[in-house]
Amino acid sequence: MSDRGLAWLLLSPALLVLATLTVYPALWVLWLAFQYRIPVFGISRWAGLDHFAFLAEGTRFWNAAWVTGVFTVTSVALESALGLAIAVALRGQRGGRRTALALLLLAWALPSVVTAKMFEWLYHPAGGLVNFLLGDRAINWLGDPALALPSLILADVWRATPFVALLCYARLLTIPPDLYEAAEVDGAAGLQAFARITWPLVRPILLVTMLFRTLDAIRAFDIMFVLTGGGPAGSTESLTVYAYRALFQTLQIGLGSAIGVVVFALVMVVAAVYLRLIGRPERTA
């Protein structure tokens, strides 16, 4: 068999699976977004742009977009800063590296539902560790509309920072120590060494991880759904939670798909923007 023939033979199973379960649904959801589709009552007819018009005029949609935006920007910023700090702290680690990484990666590896339940318990007004450590004040972290989103962001930052930290740490390990020693000789140490040596070299990888984290944060669902369910009063209802509720609580497949398409478009736009920023000929040194 020719090489070309073999290539297609080896590729086709994977492409078939992807075509059926990834590409086809991606196109189908676009189609559904233009339909009134409620399987429970057998409703299936053309809606045109009605769903999108409704979303654009509706406060619930813009509230969800706002929540998604605040959640994404804040989480990514915190994760990046904290992750980098942890990476720098780890960089000088000599002994116990495996243990250190294990402790760090644990947070990332846990199922998000486990993390959600964990933080729900930590934030519990009466039985939670947080209130206990703060001195028994009955703060309702997840029930107060002003506090719920920050609490949620904190939980997600805890979960995702290790990913950023790991990647930055790996990059830092490739920086030869001679560079730092030479800088010390030149009289630049600590913060200056960081600014002149570390930062330029770690910046590209940080951008890459920020891209991943941004895309993940926009798509985030599990923690939000299980920890707060979008409440209280929609203060933590992101676009994904709004879409899920439309889809499975009311089985409005058309409306839910429309919101899903918006998330889809958002993710693609953000990815494109980031890739242009990263894809410039600025290879990792």
Partner: protein
């Protein structure tokens, strides 16, 4: 040297504090009910195994654990099996439109699950696969496939061509080269990709929540999210169930750390 060791210890302590939420949950799982609400003391007066007993004997977690294990293993198998073959083709064989396909793979990893869940739900419903293992194996496997292909293509490319050329000179055909030269060498990479795929499937919630309805196919995250409580929420039992749900991830992080890290780095450092 001593300063270095002290510094190491400080960092380890700090990271232990970072993982404290998990340790707290572990402590909660052995704390007696009476001391859960309200919380009056940090350490429990005694340890109890009653929560684990309830979870293992009276809840749906054991069945969910089996479901999760089976589905995760099989979807990983699916992703690695199809992915390895496809990756070899993309890495070593002439494929017209290779660049486009690889770009499509990258794009596919960014697909939001919330967008594809509704058509997949309708598809599973039409195929009668609701509440079956197969639905989740297909959904999880196909969702992990792009990443697996992307990773493995990179790993295969790292293998020196000389080895394959030498085998070709010896008279081996493409498939034999794949089987005897490439696969053994890319095995560590495959392990990394497999671990990531397994973790994804084990932790996956959205598809599982939407496609399952009974304990026939309910996975661990769904069982945990829907943990029943008649009057009040049974925090101790939930903590015990959470610990059980975390066993494979813990095992992977502690036991297979090297492969996991390699997989994560490869995924991010490849452009």
């Amino acid at each position: 040297m001593r300063a270095g060791r002290r510094r190491d210890a400080v960092v380890l302590l700090a990271l232990s504090l970072y993982a404290a939420p998990f340790f707290w949950q572990a402590l909660t799982s052995v704390r007696p009910d009476a001391e859960l609400l309200p919380l009056t003391r940090l350490l429990p007066s005694r340890l109890t195994w009653v929560h684990y007993d309830v979870v293992l004997r009276q809840s749906l977690m054991p069945r969910a654990l089996i479901n999760s294990l089976g589905i995760a293993l099989l979807s990983t198998l699916l992703a690695i099996g199809l992915g390895a073959l496809a990756a070899y083709a993309l890495a070593r064989l002439p494929v017209r439109g290779r660049g486009v396909i690889l770009l499509a793979m990258v794009a596919a990893t960014a697909f939001p699950q919330i967008a594809t869940v509704s058509p997949l739900y309708l598809l599973m419903r039409a195929l009668g696969l609701r509440d079956t293992w197969l639905a989740l194996i297909l959904a999880n496997g196909s969702f992990a496939l792009p990443l697996v292909i992307w990773l493995l293509t990179g790993f295969i490319r790292e293998i020196p061509r000389a080895l394959e050329e030498a085998a070709a000179v010896d008279g081996a055909d493409r498939l034999a080269i794949l089987r005897w030269v490439v696969l053994p060498l890319v095995a560590p990479g495959m392990a990394s990709a497999a671990l990531l795929a397994f973790l994804f499937s084990w932790n996956e919630f959205l598809f599982a929540y939407s496609f399952t309805a009974t304990e026939a196919s309910r996975t661990v995250p769904v069982a945990l999210a829907l943990f029943p409580g008649v009057f009040e929420v049974p925090w101790g039992d939930i903590a015990a169930a959470s610990l059980l749900a975390s066993l494979p991830p813990i095992l992977i992080v502690v036991g297979f750390q090297r492969y996991l890290v390699r997989g994560l780095l490869a995924g991010a450092l490849r452009e």
